[in-house]
């Protein structure tokens, strides 16, 4: 098992390196520099600014310097905010995004699995059609529509919940989490339903029932496991999707998170910030994917046995 983990970690490094290199050279080709202003900048001043950020050096040298600093964990100074390092900016935006992602994930998994389980246990009844239709809605109605609609109905017309901010006013975390979580709740519901249905038709379920086990045990100990595996495997891509979705949700709800920072940095040509955020998020996704793969493998008794046999 541990060999499996190490192998994957080792494979992750060249992947990360490739991501960094690609992004580094990509943004340098973007038109528009970080120092362009409405009022024209005097050439001497522009030169001084470029020197401060090493932009006057050949591209390869800049790349080398960046990698060297990266090895020390230093993501460089932000172009937009003098005096602030990218590490700091990421650290300030991360908590909000993580919290948002966590709540959304919780909503997605809990709501999704509950709905999917119920649908699977009463297939082709209203208990199946209702949650699955809701799930379909969640998938089809994009976040950028759902979010504003929720804001309109619950925030403005009914005034039940606040419409912006994060942690400023009690209850302002509800709408964003719901918006972000609902699309993924939908997928989770479908996956759970599919997984549980497949398991329910298996022989060992019939055996368990024949042995006289109470239905509750049958469901939670065996059937649910069937639904759990595809969901856990989905967590990796779901996480990546959540991160992407956070860009839109953070913008709609004005949440000071990493997603919003990234979009702003892209518009501002804050090279180091773009690069730093991309690297950070890519690393995060790789780790999360690894965790979800490991978890899925561990949950699946056949795969686990094989892996442990190997180790």
């Amino acid at each position: 098992m541990s060999r499996f983990i190490w192998m994957r970690l080792l494979q992750a490094i060249p992947v990360l390196l490739a991501v960094i290199t690609f992004t580094f050279f990509l943004i340098r080709f973007a038109p528009g520099g970080p120092f362009d202003q409405e009022k024209a900048v005097i050439p001497e001043v522009k030169r001084a600014l470029e020197a401060q950020y090493h932009l006057d050096q050949p591209l390869l040298v800049q790349y080398g310097t960046y990698l060297k600093d990266l090895a020390h964990g230093d993501l460089g100074p932000s172009f937009k905010y003098p005096g602030r390092s990218v590490n700091e900016l990421i650290a300030s935006g991360l908590p909000a995004t993580m919290e948002l992602g966590l709540y959304a994930l919780l909503i997605a998994v809990v709501l999704g699995m509950a709905a999917g389980l119920m649908a699977a246990l009463y297939p082709n009844t209203w208990r199946d059609y209702l949650p699955m239709s809701a799930a379909m809605t969640g998938i089809c109605m994009p976040m950028l529509l759902l979010g504003p609609l929720l804001v309109l109905v619950f925030g403005i017309w009914l005034e039940w919940v606040p419409v912006s901010g994060w942690g400023d006013v009690p209850g302002d975390k509800i709408l964003p989490s719901l918006t972000l979580g609902s699309a993924y709740a939908a997928y989770v519901a479908r996956l759970t339903r599919g997984g549980v249905l497949e398991v329910m038709s298996q022989d060992y379920i019939r055996t368990a029932r024949a042995k006289g086990l109470p239905e509750r045990v049958v469901i939670f100990k065996h059937a649910l496991r069937g639904g759990l595996i595809p969901v856990v495997a989905y967590l990796g891509p779901a996480f990546a999707g959540l991160l992407s979705g956070s860009f839109v949700v953070e913008t709609v709800f004005q949440i000071p998170g990493l997603g919003r920072f990234f979009v702003q940095a892209a518009f501002n040509r804050d090279y180091t910030m773009i690069l730093g955020t991309t690297t950070f998020l890519a690393a995060l996704i790789i780790i999360f994917n690894l965790l979800s793969d490991v978890l899925a493998a561990w949950l699946n008794p056949r795969v686990r046995g094989a892996l442990e046999g190997k180790a």
Binding site: T23, P142, L152, F262
Partner: protein
Amino acid sequence: MSATVEDVARYERGTSLWQDAWVRLKRNRLAVIGGITLIVIGLLCVVGPWFIHYGYEQQDLVLGPAPPSAAHWLGTDPFGRDLLVRILYGGRVSLMVGFIATAVALLIGVTWGATAGYIGGRLDAVMMRIVDILYALPFMIFVVLLTVVFGRSMVLLFLAIGAVEWLTMARIIRGQVQALRQQEFVEAAISLGLSRAAIIARHVIPNALGPLIVYTTLTIPSVMLLEAFISFLGLGVQPPASSWGSLISDGVETMEEYPWLLIFPGIVLSVTLFALNFLGDGLRDALDVRSSRD
């Protein structure tokens, strides 16, 4: 119910996978509704604007934003532009992005996956590694970067989106190709002297078509969503052109004052996505060889 002569005849004739699938699909009511809805919306978007006497960029500054009325069935936006026409026009753009970007993804994905799966060995390992690398980038970041770097032309938009969505296609095709490579009829074909390309074209691809069709139908909504996201963030389609995504984005800005500007484009987009998803699901169920005809 007794079997008729025709049934027996048909049974003995045998039906192909495609005919099977078609029958199953027709039985799936949701999928059928989805398909019909799509065709209707598609037709409306293509043909509709010819019948409406407002241009999509035609302003009426004096009228300004107005709720639905006899003159403007869906109302107008702050420039006095007719919303119905703009939605239909926007539909052309969104659907076009959806289909073209998916086609791009298809092209890249199939070529990549088929090559990797067929040639195998070292090349396969490298090509699939690259797929893994690209999977690591969250799509949004990638697309934002590409649009920021390459400006806002439509062509680049299609390419950027297509470049992001081809990955799963490649994996599917590769899997299919690998499995098929092992099969006897391929060995037979090789021994008969058929070239690799011919084998790929005539045997491999048709067999992989099933999952490909399903995935394509499910990619289109994904692509359209991505386009909507990009427009929402302020990259994407240029005015005065519109896409459903940019219409929604505009509508959000003024949703309190003029809610119809958000609701109507929203409904249209959602309905289209519903239709595509139902159709895709239906196709998947229909083409799924595992669920046999018993």
